[in-house]
Symmetry: C3
Subunit: 388 residues, 3 copies
């Protein structure tokens, strides 16, 4: 079937049509606390086609140094079908696709939990996302509540590429107009309970294009690694927000930001996924240049917001190392990963010492002050090549 239509000259119409102000409507997106119902599944809009150039662009923007994400030949020599998207890009996109349903009205992103990257995303793949509401915790009629959600991304073959949990803080709707309702129909939510990673590796990895000191054997529990460089975040973050399809106006609409009160008021806040991505890139020469895969992460908290002009830097601490059984060419390293801003990582360590590695939410219970220089904390698990 083809649509065929003759163009007619477009006549000017506005002047002849009286304006009826009472006919105005203002569609709202996102969801207030009252609107979340445990069990609900949201099919997120749009989807996101991954293309090689955008994948390379993401890796370079966020200063990724693992050649897997920068060099197609290197990736193929490992056994990947093609250049894989960096897991960080997949995370940024899947979370962002969900914002319109999950958190466009949220007032805080409280934490990321149990993220698992189940399979590679390749050039030409299109990822769609779903969210299931798991729990809604009310804290009284005049206080925002906490919603626990599970979100996952699937590729065009409906195979899950990433799944994770997130907690967000959301206000009651009150007198505000309702948001766009979700179509009310049962939707399958393909969360994978017994997830398995299958990587088609060659076992013969090219040398020389990665550092000599960042193999599995180079990490011992307790090691602290101070990443040398910071990255100054510029206004670029405003455009990057929707480059990954995040629709929350907090990140790109200064008029919106100026209308807020409190810590988020003023300049647009950098979307947290982008901050995580820069920190991860800055750490990559020291901890993940020889990673074969990023298994996932948990207990991820943005403890301070960042704005344009802030310089972010990071430190990693080895929490566990776990060789794979048999002749597998890699092992699992778990890192605690800390981000700071407007101070070098080395100076932050000197200034705050061991306290830098205590979760900010645990500080009060321990009688310690929160660290204002600290912006991020998480635990990450990487699959890292053995030195051959």
């Amino acid at each position: 079937m083809a649509l065929s239509l003759a163009f007619t000259p477009q006549q000017e119409l506005a002047g002849k049509m009286p304006v009826s102000l009472e006919r105005a409507r203002a569609p709202q997106y996102g969801r207030y606390l009252d609107e979340f119902v445990p069990g609900q599944v949201f099919i997120h809009p749009r989807g996101f086609s991954f293309e090689r150039a955008a994948m390379l662009d993401f890796a370079r923007t966020f200063m990724q140094t693992n050649p897997l994400y920068l060099n197609t030949d290197f990736a193929k020599a490992h056994g990947f079908t093609d250049l894989p998207a960096s897991p960080q890009m997949v995370f940024n996109v899947v979370l962002s696709l969900g914002v319109q349903n999950d958190s466009e009205k949220a007032i805080a992103n409280l934490g990321y939990y149990n993220a698992q990257f189940l399979r590679p995303v390749y050039p030409g793949d299109t990822v769609r996302a779903y969210t299931k509401v798991i729990d809604r915790k009310e804290r009284g009629a005049d206080k925002p509540g906490i919603v626990l959600i599970r979100t996952l991304g699937v590729n065009q073959h409906d195979r899950v590429v990433l799944q994770y949990e997130r907690k967000i803080m959301v206000s009651w709707r009150g007198q505000r107009p309702p948001t766009t309702p979700v179509p009310d129909e049962p939707v399958d939510f393909p969360w994978v309970n017994e997830a398995k990673l299958e990587l088609p590796l060659t076992g013969a990895f090219p040398a020389h294009l990665t550092g000599p000191n960042t193999y599995f054997e180079d990490y011992t529990p307790g090691d602290i690694i101070v990443h040398a460089n910071g990255r100054t975040i510029t206004d670029e973050h405003v455009a990057l927000t929707y480059k990954v399809c995040n629709t929350h106006p907090l990140h790109y609409d200064r008029i919106y930001s100026q209308g807020l009160s409190g810590k988020m008021s003023g300049e647009p806040i950098v979307y947290g996924g982008l901050v995580f991505a820069w920190l991860e890139g800055l750490a990559s020469r020291d901890v993940s240049e020889n990673a074969l895969w990023e298994l996932g992460f948990t207990e991820g908290y943005h403890t301070q917001p960042s704005v344009s002009g802030d310089t972010v830097a990071g430190l990693s601490r080895v929490l566990a190392v776990e060789p794979l059984p048999g002749s597998d060419p890699a092992g699992i390293v778990t890192f605690q990963f800390i981000g700071v801003k407007n101070i070098s990582a080395a100076n932050a360590l000197e200034k705050h010492g061991a306290d830098l590695f205590i979760k900010e939410n645990d500080k009060q219970g321990l009688g310690k002050d929160k660290i204002g220089d600290k912006i991020f904390e998480i635990e990450r698990r990487l699959l890292i090549k053995r030195r051959t």
Copy 2:
């Protein structure tokens, strides 16, 4: 035929060559009023190869939400051969390719008229552009005149993809050096008088990836739709100007801008096509997420310039709805579309009411003040899916 050339060591030469200042020349581009001759046809330089990643990048930069421009699978499911470039990108590129001949010496872009998007542009297509001078209106020896031009873009098969008219204000050359002359040879100008749109639709469109409330049936003449979010324009606009191949220094050369007097003096002005693109993206969740095609627009005016740091927002008003005859799965909706800056769309409506929808050029005749918050006005025609 192959060119074969042995490299010889490059000897330093500059020190031995005396400088002859009288040998300096300063090539100028664009065209002064005296240089426009009705009937002339300009073949615009370069051309522009559209690639999938750049198309996705454009759609994301300008916050397009219609999955047709973001999701290759979605586009193909509709019957498109591949991901189509957003018409907004095609417009930005075709206009920009023409700047070197049409408006690089223009002092104002007065209006866009009768734009028609005749066929999709796909990844791998290369677009070239032509302009024909239609009319030159002189307003006295000491005043800039007005030139009416027609511009069109063709793909690599010489098929027109977009055609439109534009009025620009241009000064007499006076004592200034002449610009680079046009080769003086007859050139065919393939304007399409009885244009027809042919879209190879499947008729079976995927649901769930677009909003449930933005189908043809959701629009009634008189409806006013206040788009929720604004977009803060950053310095990114400087680079975006030539990303679409626009060569006017007003948008990227601060030394040039500071040398001007009047409203355009100071910081580089954002190229109007980019402003239109952001406004359209901001409106897209509410009015075009379910569009199958953008037929075109007319009476488009940039009523105030924007600079880096401005936050733009928009409002749409439904002017007409027109079902297609027969069983066609779509109808035509004509919108009046208004852009404002540094005020939310909701506040602009509250502050200015019905006057926001009166063309700025008609204000004086009606005894009304112009609205300084308003930056753009246009009438757009979209082909929007019916709810199935």
Copy 3:
């Protein structure tokens, strides 16, 4: 061989692992003067996959006007297999890939010499880079020394695409921690001594998409060409640094920059390769729109740093013209190319006259003052089409 791994729930670990501050390490990259040994060869990390969209993006970001780098059809019509990367992009990438070994600890980039572009880089090619240390000139125990290196880039078939020499100024290590050592093994360095350019040209070049006044015949030794427009560099340069894979923190880490003393202290300095690229793009309408190839350059000096907000502009002077023997459709033009900032090229010529074309390093010997407005000087050789 496939790696298969069951995901296990990720347990929070950090709280149970005591922090041992003495276990901190801070890996350093780059190389101090003491660490350079003539004869050493560095295999640079990562590599860089060139993709069509990133190539187009580079050409547009830096305002390239030669359609060879913007229009795939135009390039193929000339006989190129596909769109070639602009030589400027190849130079930026190859230099940047070497920064981690060559100059991440350098305090100044002293000059570029004898650059030769040996063959095109096409979409899908992956470039890797090598450096050989040629000479280390010590100037005393308390002064930085000068290292002369040769760097080259090869494609995935190990064919050299670019080779050049560079001098850098580097400090002694002193009390600072050593950098990551180079693997100590003999490495082949495929520098080409008798280089030859082979271009598969058709000889029938499309007209109309380039300017009519920029053919080989349009240049006469002594001509000075004042390029009309400047380009305001924005914060974009911070991200562009690693878009070409440059790892020097001077360009993206404000905390690092603020910790420096002297001329480089304060805001991040724009990576010189980017400055060269913008200047070249600004000149391209006047001197290289009809170039078939950029043969190379020598005596390239960045005489002043640039920062975000600076507006750069350029002037070219014809130093030599050399027709190719036989029926070849092109000739070689050598240009002296000068960059200035925060002044238009025309005003710079008026203000400084012939002195603008004297190398800044020669000024003292001639009893002349250096020109603070001047930021760059180089001699370039282009292969330019004859008018047919």
